[in-house]
């Protein structure tokens, strides 16, 4: 091995990591914890690839076994192969983090940043590297190099939980607003990763030597106990990486105030503009809207006297339609989020019709869900339309959801 060993794999590893990160199913949110998760999530691909690199280096070094085996420290060769691959993977990981940090920082960003979570990435890469080195060393064949990456990837997909979950450190697609990393799970997973890495590494010990045998046995038994206990703890106590945080919707703007969690700061301008447009249309009819709308977060349900913003994610619909969808929940009634006692179907239909009315009133294209709605929306000069709108908004504002009715009588 020399300084250039494995260097040819840096470019493919880096391209794969950046390609994966920039191809996420969800748009970049400007949430720092989401960015951290995006970076740790790249190890889902770069980990197995690092394993293959380690397998390749170990397989190549195995050809020198007649020379290595005769030296005192020849048994360390596969460990150095794994270390070399790990360093390559670590370099790619650092560059990936730098890229992600820049992409987030160059636009509106917000929310807490649990930077310490990033330290689990190198642990994942280490496990994959030593597993790959083991494959390449004990089966020094080209096919071992090819099989290592898919095997590690598929183990992460189908392997027994919580062990397989160690190789799946993200990414999440949804917002992490109102959530934070569970430090207990993180520590247990890091412990399991380190233990598994050391356990595999202990197989390279020169077991024929008495002193090494004792040391190797202690290491193997100790790490096996640590691995088993951390996995049991994860199984019993749950391995969900996130828990509810103390984040609240404190970033506010506009009239009425649209209040979002600081993690969703990037969306605040769009949401407040859309809400203001739709609220102005409703206020022309004389309805009384709340002064403030707050975002629904995991672990935080806004009080009933403020409006509810349930889905603030970036939308491809027009600003008018987006605002209409946001403004039609003028009170954070418990029923909207209570799975045991949800609102009646009529409440949702009334909200849909109200949304389409706002869109039509604002000059947008309506999308009625049925023929009755289409007929009602087309009757622009009907005198009872405003009355229905005012009555419905009032009922929504006072959580009288069971009293909601469609304007053409009892709904089906």
């Amino acid at each position: 091995m020399n300084r250039r060993t494995g260097g040819i794999f840096v470019a493919p590893l880096l391209v794969t990591a950046l390609f994966a990160m920039l191809s996420y199913e969800a748009p970049w949110r400007g949430e720092w914890n989401w960015t951290v998760d995006a970076v740790t999530g790249t190890t889902v691909l770069t980990g197995p690839l690092t394993g293959s690199v380690a397998a390749h280096i170990a397989a190549v070094q195995r050809r020198l076994d007649p020379v290595n085996a005769s030296t005192v420290r020849g048994w360390e060769v596969p460990l150095w192969a794994g270390l070399r691959a790990w360093l390559l993977g670590l370099g790619v990981y650092v560059i990936t983090f730098a890229t992600a940090w820049a992409v987030t920082a160059l636009s509106t960003d917000g929310g807490p940043m649990s930077w310490w979570v990033l330290l689990i990435g190198p642990a994942v890469l280490a496990l994959c590297a030593v597993a790959g080195a083991s494959c390449g060393w004990w089966w020094p064949h080209r096919l071992a190099v090819l099989f290592t990456a898919p095997a590690l990837f598929l183990f992460g997909s189908f392997g027994p939980r919580p062990l397989a979950g160690l190789l799946r450190q993200g990414p999440v697609t949804g917002s992490l607003a109102g959530l934070e990393y569970d430090a207990r799970v993180w520590w247990l997973q890091v412990g399991a990763l380190v233990a598994a890495t050391a356990l595999i590494a202990s197989t390279f010990f020169p077991w024929r030597l008495r002193r090494a045998r004792a040391m190797g046995a202690v290491l193997a038994i100790g790490t096996a106990v640590l691995l088993i206990s951390t996995c049991v703890a994860l199984k019993m106590g749950g391995s969900e990486r996130f828990v509810v945080s103390a984040e609240r919707p404190t970033a506010c703007r506009g009239v009425p105030e649209a209040c979002l969690a600081p993690s969703n700061l990037r969306l605040l301008d769009e949401v407040s503009r859309a809400l203001t447009v739709a609220a102005d249309i409703l206020r022309e009819t004389g309805v009384d809207l709340p002064e403030r709308y707050e975002q629904l977060l995991a672990g935080y349900h806004p009080p009933a006297d403020v409006g509810l913003l349930a889905d603030v994610a970036t939308s491809s619909t027009s600003e008018l339609r987006r605002g209409a969808l946001l403004v039609v929940t003028p009170a954070a009634c418990q029923a909207w989020t209570d799975p045991s006692a949800p609102p009646p179907d009529l409440a949702f239909r009334a909200q849909e019709l109200l949304t389409e009315w706002i869109v039509g009133r604002g000059g947008g294209e309506t999308m009625p869900g049925d023929a009755e709605s289409a007929t009602w929306l087309s009757q622009t000069n009907a005198p009872d339309r405003i009355a229905w709108v005012v009555r419905t908004v009032g009922q929504l504002r006072h959580c009288q959801l069971s009293e909601l009715a469609m304007p053409w009588g009892v709904g089906s």
């Binding site: 191809s23 996420y24 064949h141 096919l143 090819l146 993200g170 990414p171």
Partner: protein
């Protein structure tokens, strides 16, 4: 001679690996693999053609240095080897198609395997990229549930692209048969000396 050829091209290992891959696809072809970027899961079936191509990339390069210029028998040997690997891969793909009941992956597998052989004439062992790039792209971009409607690997999806790829594969295959796979650098130096 045949045995030497098979040993030099890891024929035994390839056959075992192809059989194991076929068995895995027959049993687990419909199993859903979570995407690597949080997208919808994909069936293992979708990764079959790149998997066979990656396997083929391991057996394109002759492990024995070819110290003589390509002669007729050597070219016949390469052609026979290409056809044999293609046959094994296509049989595996056909069995996987029958077992999963999803769309046929035989045309795509043939195309990728031949492309891999052609690429090996230029890239040598890096012809692995012919299979690896689509595999990473599928796992990363995770096309939606239309995969389960078996449209991903069908020629009808984009006939012009297929024609182009078939033409490139044919040219690559001819090049492989004529001059063989590019050897690793240390073997190239040996030949030069």
């Amino acid at each position: 001679m045949v045995r030497t050829w098979l040993v030099a091209h890891h024929g035994f290992g390839f056959t075992l690996s192809a059989a194991a891959l076929t068995a895995a696809l027959c049993w687990f072809g419909r199993a859903l693999v979570p995407g690597a970027t949080g997208g919808p899961p994909i069936p293992l079936w979708a990764l079959s053609p790149p998997a066979f191509a990656i396997l083929a990339s391991a057996v394109t390069v002759n492990s024995m240095p070819e110290l003589v210029p390509s002669i007729g028998r050597l070219r016949c040997g390469r052609l026979a080897w290409l056809l044999l690997v293609l046959l094994v891969s296509c049989v595996g793909a056909a069995l996987a198609t029958l077992a999963t009941g999803l769309g046929s992956i035989v045309p795509a597998t043939c195309l990728l395997v031949v492309l891999t052989f052609g690429a090996s004439a230029v890239l040598g062992r890096s012809a692995l990229l012919i299979g690896a790039v689509p595999a990473v792209a599928i796992v990363t971009l995770t096309p939606t549930v239309t995969l389960l409607e078996a449209e991903l690997w069908l020629p009808q999806r984009d006939p012009r692209l297929w024609l182009l790829l078939v033409a490139v594969a044919a040219v690559g295959a001819i090049r492989y048969v004529l001059i063989g796979a590019r050897p690793p650098r240390y073997e190239a130096r040996l030949v030069d000396e």
